[in-house]
């Protein structure tokens, strides 16, 4: 069957060799292809693959830093941290995440909505990054979870720290923290850079303004992990840094006292050191519970806060705008004296009203005050006298003095929510309202009505700068460092005792500039004296609220700012404030400084719709002043023992 001829064998051998040659060529081509691929992967694209290999190898776990603490002037914590129990799920360690959620739902009563949210979150992050199921378990929940823990792989109870606010009274100053929002991430680069899940961020108050420094630096642990996510060895660790701690100028005890005193009233009180601008207390009432926000606010509480008539969430001391009313008379008088428009001796007869171009301008006292000098006009708060002053002075001069004393601009750098208010003048009206100024409006401005808008804190600063003899001060609520210390008091004392000597070095420092706001200090002293009369001499508007203890004697000025103008009929019927609708009642204002002998503190009180300054605001001021002055010696001691070391 098969032929084995030699010729046949030879031709076959030739065929085999020819075919083998073709195969060898093909092999060479394939091997060249493989070499080419090796060159591509290991030489051309090597860097890219090295990065990918490192991405495989290393995993980072971020460590959320502990937020800095804010203490009051006496070292009491007003924003501190507490231990909380959290519940985390690491999706990678679970066998069936659906089942885990189902179990946890039953154990902890989590809502379906929350479960859906957590599931969605789980799909968005890396499988080894924990999902925070709850950031604040109650002790009973914590122990219930622990009981079932062995059946819940991937679930991990974690002890962590969270923000806590020991006292509600500082809510408006400190603000609150809450969960990071989409908007926070969009607006704040430092939050994007941190990229830590579950970190709380400041939403209002100091917490918001100081957020970047108080939040701390994120730490991380970098591990080498194997393909199953098991940590093989720690490569690098950075424990991060706790947030910066701060000391506030606030005296928590006065703050609490004042808050209690105000009760449910819609009011605000501001007390300031007249030399260094330290805010002793800044209360806005009613207050709210900042702790309610830390772990997510309950819907009902949120609705209550938002719907409340007196707006508990707003910080009235810096964001509440009120016409200054008669409290502005101090500045109007000063402006008239400084500009040599009026002399202190000049008398004006008050008949209860004046007429101007057919419009009648009423004094608060229907029958009139009779003959008034500038001192008695301030003492009794005669409107007619100040109509005359304003008419001669003009609104632009009033505005200039008011601005010089701090009205119309923000006091602090520490609050986003602070408002600057309005100090009207002819230019302002042209620009913002687009109309010319009327003389009648000047008369309104002269008694702090009309377009005038001020915050209680501004009024307090104004009073402080009158009380210290007319020097500019920079208010502060956070003590930052020694450099920012204001040595105004030392300067004034030194100048008084050694008028001809050279100033010592620390008073010459470039950070400290003395800026007198007056032309003639006598004018300032005159205003202070008139305020003394207003509180401590019979007939003064706040005479009833005076303190008789000679160490506590204070000098003040009342104010009532109209919310709604009185109708002619109401005026005729002599309708009392308490008889009209709450929303239409006048705001009650009071400013003061104390003690009169050697002033140290300035105060402003505003009671919304409180009626009159003398009846609603001055009595509050009286009690707060007494409290502040009682605390004064310990504040002085505390400066040497605690503050000087801390800053």
């Amino acid at each position: 069957m098969i032929n084995f001829s030699g010729e046949n064998t030879v031709s076959k051998t030739r065929m085999i060799s020819r075919r083998m040659f073709l195969l060898s060529a093909a092999k060479a081509a394939v091997f060249l292809g493989i070499v080419g691929r090796l060159v591509y992967l290991q030489i051309n694209e090597s860097n890219r693959y090295r990065t990918l290999s490192d991405k495989n190898r290393f995993r980072e776990w971020k460590l959320a830093p502990q937020r800095g603490i804010i203490k009051d002037y006496f070292g009491k914590e007003i924003a501190s941290n507490e231990k909380v129990y959290q519940l985390h799920i690491t999706p990678e360690n679970t066998q069936n995440i659906e089942e885990i959620f189902f179990r946890l739902k039953n154990i902890l009563n989590i809502s379906n909505k929350k479960i859906a949210y957590l599931k969605k979150k789980a799909t968005k992050q890396k499988p080894w990054e924990p999902i925070i199921v709850s950031d604040n378990l109650s002790w009973s929940e914590f122990s219930r979870v622990n009981l079932f823990l062995h059946e819940l792989p991937g679930v991990e109870p974690v002890v962590s720290v969270a923000r806590v606010y020991p006292d509600k009274s500082t809510a408006h100053i400190v603000g609150y923290v809450s969960q990071i929002s989409k908007k926070d991430l969009e607006n704040k680069k430092y939050l994007r850079d941190m990229a830590v899940t579950g970190i709380a961020v400041g939403k209002t108050g100091l917490e918001k303004k100081l957020d970047q420094d108080i939040i701390g630096n994120v730490g991380f642990q970098r591990y080498e992990v194997n393909a199953y996510g098991k940590r093989i060895k720690q490569i690098q660790t950075d424990s991060g840094q706790e947030g910066k701690n701060y000391i506030s100028t606030i005296d928590l005890e006065v703050q609490k006292f004042t808050t209690k005193l105000l009760g449910e009233r819609a009011a605000s009180v501001c007390v300031m050191d007249i030399y260094n601008g330290d805010v002793i207390t800044m209360v806005s009432s009613p207050s709210y519970d900042p702790n309610a926000f830390v772990h997510g606010i309950k819907k009902k509480y949120w609705k209550d806060l938002i719907g409340h008539r007196d707006k508990p969430l707003s910080n009235k001391a810096i964001a509440g705008l009120y016409p200054p009313g008669s409290t502005i008379k101090t500045l109007v008088a000063l402006s008239a004296l400084e500009n040599d428009i009026f002399s202190t001796k000049k008398s004006v007869k008050c008949t209860g009203y004046i007429d101007l171009y057919g419009e009648r301008f009423h004094c608060w006292k229907k029958k009139g005050h009779g003959w008034m000098t500038m001192r008695s006009a301030i003492q009794r708060s005669c409107d007619v006298y100040f109509y005359e002053v304003a008419k001669k002075l003009g609104v632009d001069r009033i505005s200039e003095t008011a601005k010089k004393f701090g009205l119309g601009k923000k006091l602090f750098e520490d609050f986003y929510e602070e408002r600057s208010g309005i100090v009207p003048n002819t230019k302002w009206k042209k620009k913002f309202i687009g109309k010319n100024w009327y003389l009648g409006e000047t008369l309104h401005s002269g008694i702090g009505q009309g377009y005038f808008q001020t915050t209680p804190a501004q009024l307090c600063l104004m009073t402080a700068q009158i009380a210290n003899g007319g020097y500019e001060i920079k208010p502060r609520i956070i003590l930052k460092d020694k450099k920012s210390n204001n040595n105004l008091r030392d300067y004034i004392t030194f100048k008084k005792n050694y008028p001809n000597d050279l100033l010592p070095n620390y008073l010459l420092s470039t950070t400290f500039k003395v800026n007198p706001l007056f032309r003639n200090q006598e004018n300032i002293n005159f205003i202070k004296d008139a305020m003394y009369a207003s509180t401590n001499e019979i007939g003064g508007t706040s005479y009833a609220s005076r303190l008789k203890n000679k160490n506590f004697i204070f000098a003040g000025k009342t104010g009532s700012s109209q919310v709604k103008r009185f109708t002619a009929l109401q005026r005729k019927l002599e309708v009392k404030q308490k008889d009209i609708e709450y929303k239409s009642r006048d705001h009650a204002l009071f400013i003061a400084f104390a003690p009169v002998s050697e002033p140290r503190y300035a105060i402003s009180v505003v009671v919304e719709h409180g009626g009159s300054g003398s009846s609603a605001a001055a009595p509050i001021a009286k009690q707060v002043i007494q409290k502040v002055l009682e605390r004064h010696p310990s504040r002085e001691i505390n400066y040497n023992t605690f503050i000087e070391k801390s800053i």
Binding site: I2, N8, T13, Q42, I43, S53
Partner: protein
């Protein structure tokens, strides 16, 4: 052309040893030693099970290789059909008595080792077809009646192996077989028809593929379609090789394999591990070593006088090339992952046995190059 028989029978043992191809023997030894180091690295730098077992197998089968080398080529020629039938019976045995592991039935339990007959069939088929075409006259090879048996002996084991299922090995078996048919001089037209037939049958074949096999092919076309599932192996392999760079990460420092990102690192992906640790430089060295081995086998084919020897050596060299190319192509992302070991380097007794058997027969061709086979 015909050698006097006495010349052949008078070769002394010393002559036989002298006529061994020492370049080939030492290349195999060097590759064996490299493979031991690679295996040591897959064991995480410890002298563990895989390393010990690999060294033992290499040692035993290397000795076997030398021993086989001295078996006269005549004997291989005479028993080629029997060997094929024996291996085929073993393959059938797998069908009924085979061990199952991770979804496929490939092994026979022989107590001292689990044998994978499909690996042996790679050599068995070449032996059979070399024998067959040695006997078929050159003018007749393309005749239909002489194509019947080759197609039958090729298709039967390939189908058996495909259904195990083991796509990779069946391709390698077929590759060796087709090579013999090609070398024998069957007309190009025939291969063209077969290719057309094969391509037109592909859609039908695909419907018979297991889901994981389909996934592998889809994954090859686009590895990123399922990076944590089917695409995982190829992506991780490319990362490992690419991150090796020019000089590699260093011995025992391949993070991809050390941290278990690399799958099947003992077997199919051993080249990846080596490449990661020794870089382009190492990869190229290994490749050159393989080229040298293939070159030596081809050279032995050139020197062998019998067409049986030539057919065998050329076919084995080509099959060896296919094993290397498929494995490297696979781990480099040029081919789908089909499961094909790298000769000598990969862990696995049957593969080692089959390669050493193949090399042994090659060496026998060299020693008895002038001896007629019948």
């Amino acid at each position: 052309m015909h050698q006097p028989r006495y010349i052949q029978s008078s070769i002394s043992f010393a002559d036989k040893i002298k006529s061994l191809d020492f370049v080939l023997v030492s290349s195999i030894l060097v590759l064996g030693i490299i493979s031991m180091f690679a295996m040591y690295s897959t064991d995480g730098g410890q002298f563990n099970y895989h390393t010990k077992s690999h060294i033992m197998r290499f040692g035993i089968f290397f000795i076997m290789f030398l021993f086989i080398s001295f078996i006269p080529i005549r004997l291989w020629f005479a028993t080629s059909a029997l060997i094929y039938i024996f291996f085929f019976i073993l393959l059938l045995g797998v069908k009924y008595y085979g061990l199952e592991s991770s979804g496929s039935q490939r092994w026979l339990n022989f107590y001292f080792m689990n044998l994978q007959p499909s690996e042996l069939m790679k050599i068995g088929l070449i032996l059979f077809l070399a024998n067959y075409y040695h006997r078929v006259p050159a003018k007749d090879v393309s005749k239909l009646k002489f194509l019947f048996i080759p197609i039958l002996v090729l298709i039967a084991p390939v189908l058996l192996v495909i259904t195990q299922p083991d796509l990779g090995t069946s391709i390698l078996i077929a590759g060796g077989g087709v090579t013999v048919v090609w070398l024998a001089g069957v007309r190009v037209k025939f291969f063209a028809y077969m290719t057309i037939l094969f391509i037109s049958l592909t859609p039908i074949a695909i419907s018979f593929l297991k889901p994981y096999q389909k996934a592998r092919i889809l994954t090859f076309l686009n590895p990123d379609r399922d990076p944590l599932g089917a695409g995982y192996q190829i992506i991780q392999s490319k990362i490992a090789i690419g991150s090796g760079g020019f000089f590699g990460k260093g011995f025992l420092n391949g993070s991809q394999s050390y941290l278990d990102f690399l799958p099947e690192k003992h077997t199919d992906f051993i080249f990846t591990l080596f490449s990661e640790e020794f870089g382009f430089f190492g990869s190229l060295s290994i490749l050159l070593l393989y080229i040298l081995i293939i070159h030596r086998i081809v050279k032995i084919g050139d020197e062998t006088r019998s067409n049986y020897g030539k057919l065998y050596c050329y076919s084995f060299a080509t099959a060896f090339f296919i094993y290397v190319a498929v494995n490297m192509g696979m781990v480099l992302g040029l081919l789908p992952i089909v499961g094909a070991p790298l000769p000598i380097m990969s862990y696995g007794g049957s593969s080692m046995l089959s390669i050493m058997l193949g090399l042994g027969v090659t060496m026998s061709c060299k020693i008895y190059k002038d001896m007629p086979v019948n």
